[in-house]
Symmetry: C3
Subunit: 333 residues, 3 copies
Amino acid sequence: MRRFLDLLDLEDTQIQNLLALAGDLEQTPRHDTLRGRVLGLIFMNPSLRTLASFQAGMAQLGGSTFVLTPGQGTWQLETRDGVVMDQEAAEHVREAIPVLAQYCDALGVRAFANGKHLDEDLGEGVLRAISDVAPCPLINLESAANHPCQALADWKTLDDLGVSPRGRFVLSWAWHPKPLPLAVPTAALGMAARRGMDVVVARPEGFALPDSLMERARRAAAASGGSVSETTDYESAMRDADVLYAKSWQAPSVYGDAEAESKLRAGLRTWCVREDWFSSARPDAIFMHCLPVRRNVVVADEVLDGPRSRVVRQAGNRLHVQKAVLLEMLGSL
Amino acid sequence: MRRFLDLLDLEDTQIQNLLALAGDLEQTPRHDTLRGRVLGLIFMNPSLRTLASFQAGMAQLGGSTFVLTPGQGTWQLETRDGVVMDQEAAEHVREAIPVLAQYCDALGVRAFANGKHLDEDLGEGVLRAISDVAPCPLINLESAANHPCQALADWKTLDDLGVSPRGRFVLSWAWHPKPLPLAVPTAALGMAARRGMDVVVARPEGFALPDSLMERARRAAAASGGSVSETTDYESAMRDADVLYAKSWQAPSVYGDAEAESKLRAGLRTWCVREDWFSSARPDAIFMHCLPVRRNVVVADEVLDGPRSRVVRQAGNRLHVQKAVLLEMLGSL
Amino acid sequence: MRRFLDLLDLEDTQIQNLLALAGDLEQTPRHDTLRGRVLGLIFMNPSLRTLASFQAGMAQLGGSTFVLTPGQGTWQLETRDGVVMDQEAAEHVREAIPVLAQYCDALGVRAFANGKHLDEDLGEGVLRAISDVAPCPLINLESAANHPCQALADWKTLDDLGVSPRGRFVLSWAWHPKPLPLAVPTAALGMAARRGMDVVVARPEGFALPDSLMERARRAAAASGGSVSETTDYESAMRDADVLYAKSWQAPSVYGDAEAESKLRAGLRTWCVREDWFSSARPDAIFMHCLPVRRNVVVADEVLDGPRSRVVRQAGNRLHVQKAVLLEMLGSL
């Protein structure tokens, strides 16, 4: 495996093999497997889980990492072709990425959405520009519109907990003080559809996910035997639900227009998950979120501190699935 | 040992065992003892010694580290319970700490005093909030009102140099351009009292340490056979002194009131340690400071560059005692 | 070897041994050579290659690193002697460096030019202040007026590519939106002269390199059989050239005067390397640059993306030569 950019790029057997390997790694340390191997991590945006778990994972496998933060301790990087670089960016990825590939065995890159132009962000221009010039294995640490490490960790979490592959998976929008990227909604939606679940997207008017993302999920569901639907009513969505996956995202209908977005969000603070959201769900329905999560904004304390929450386990599985990805990429070299 | 938050929480035998182990580690490398083990380091404030020595120490023992800096490359963290998180902090320690504990074998946290409310800072609310939810071993890398790694390193330094456990230890306030936390004064005062020394706190009017800290030190002295007193006259304090430990701290009498504090400090630049401070001390009296230290502000070049200064050795001992703490916490797992 | 501060400080045999060792390391991993050894890296300025390659290099040799960034996650450091430290810097290198030397086996320091006073920058005051108090091996990661790691990597690159030691090496100034340090021009000029090449410095009026730097290169050339000349005409400079090494630098004639420098640069955007610069050069003439490089500002896409560019290979050689330096410094201890 040379690229881990989108979970839906993988074959079913690849996904199953990664999940099996992740389960094995959760049980058994392999201290020397990646001895002398180096993973380079480029963070254009903040991180807690990804930053810690990739460093820890490589270390546990006997390897090492280095971390670069363009715009902070490292030069700002340009990704557009043909630009006259007389502004902020001092270096182009066309140099930076091939250079770094000489120092390490694989690269991971985090580059969040710009949040200005929907087509640009959905087009994954930054990730593509980097992938086009990376001669080494490359891992998406969350891009403008995807987060495959999170998706694979979530899949493992559902398997670990015995959630039926035919169960009902509700992806619900939640209120948040800032407009957030579409990366995790895309990843969670695609993952659940690919797993064969009946996926319902609950979101207010104006927050419908872009057609291309819904269509992508529908294709995945068609292949796996799942389904994808959407609604503006979270109460009806939750009926018989097995999983509530909450996440805020900015309004695709007014993407990049901060003022219009703010107005659209104004009356929507009731979109904060509380225990009573689960009244018509299955009794053992679980709550999921990729973290970081704002307490009593996106979800109430009563849910996060209650028995439904699986958010810590989701994050724990980041470590295991990422180690599996690293072994697939580097272990056999 | 699951917590290293306050040196005075430890039994005498625990302290002696750590000091003995630190002495052993200073002589003998143990390259593979912590192979595959990971220490997570969370720095909410700047660091030189702590950042470098914990990374170096884990590496020398065969383990690894990762470093997170909330508010810089990582989300700002909330520590208060029940808050509606619609302000700056994007993640709560109730999620962040259990999540990180899944990636590593122990955590270290640095969280300086807020400097606004004395009771809050003395209450160690941030450290307690983290300790309450940390399922893994936890090390205090300097909290609002303590610095146990420094205290243990200082104890070892006194032992290394053969300073009598019944000697006279002067903790002196010094002038500084900014109001500084009480963490190191607390740690040094408690350490010297617990070691059985005759401790004198020299500080100007208005800079008396809070009653609770003095009382804590007096209890430690009562158990060890030492004593604790205070004075506003550094000259008399220095008579027959074995050790001068200098440190600036903000005025507890006007805590959080920057203007009043500034006035109180205005005439006090003579509180800069010079060689003549030692005229009535024992001939081989030593100078100690936790570092960083401002030259010719807190202490004159003539002292730091002269034969009395042990500040570099103190800092060197940070490495050895911390490796002992790490082995106690992780070595037997 | 205890210091790697200036390539021209080394004997010919030392340089040849480092180049031979670097070539060997490029072929053969030595995973355990530096087991348990730690390199401390102090970055007072941003970095991509140096930050990544030193961390990767130590890891590949079995050792570890820690990174400090004074002024960011670590206190700002004072380097001047005798100062009353009541301003920004909280710690002096007279403490910080000996302290850190206790935690690691070697230190690397990056401290760019201040850009205000030419004599001060050429005097390398910061690097000297650190070297004077460092009890451990010390590596220059780019100082005010030198970059020996880059120079050695460039030498290896010329050897790798079979560029004749008697070939023509053109060091050309290029336009840039900001005034840049003299470190890389100094390093490249000295390296090529020491290698025995016929070196021509092409630069506009006002951008002549300081006499002391030209004289230093002439002495190196005299010993090696090379030559050093300069011109304001890049076209004539390029006649029969084997190598064009481009780099921008601020005008020594108005050093520290931003306004005058800006005026001097105003009409000089034609100093952007294009393919037609090579029309009178040798057919297989190569293009070199230390990176980061601003595309279509310092050099056109057509050159960087064309067959002449060796910039990625130069950067790749940073890893190999630095590992050689580390082994020379630490391997035999």
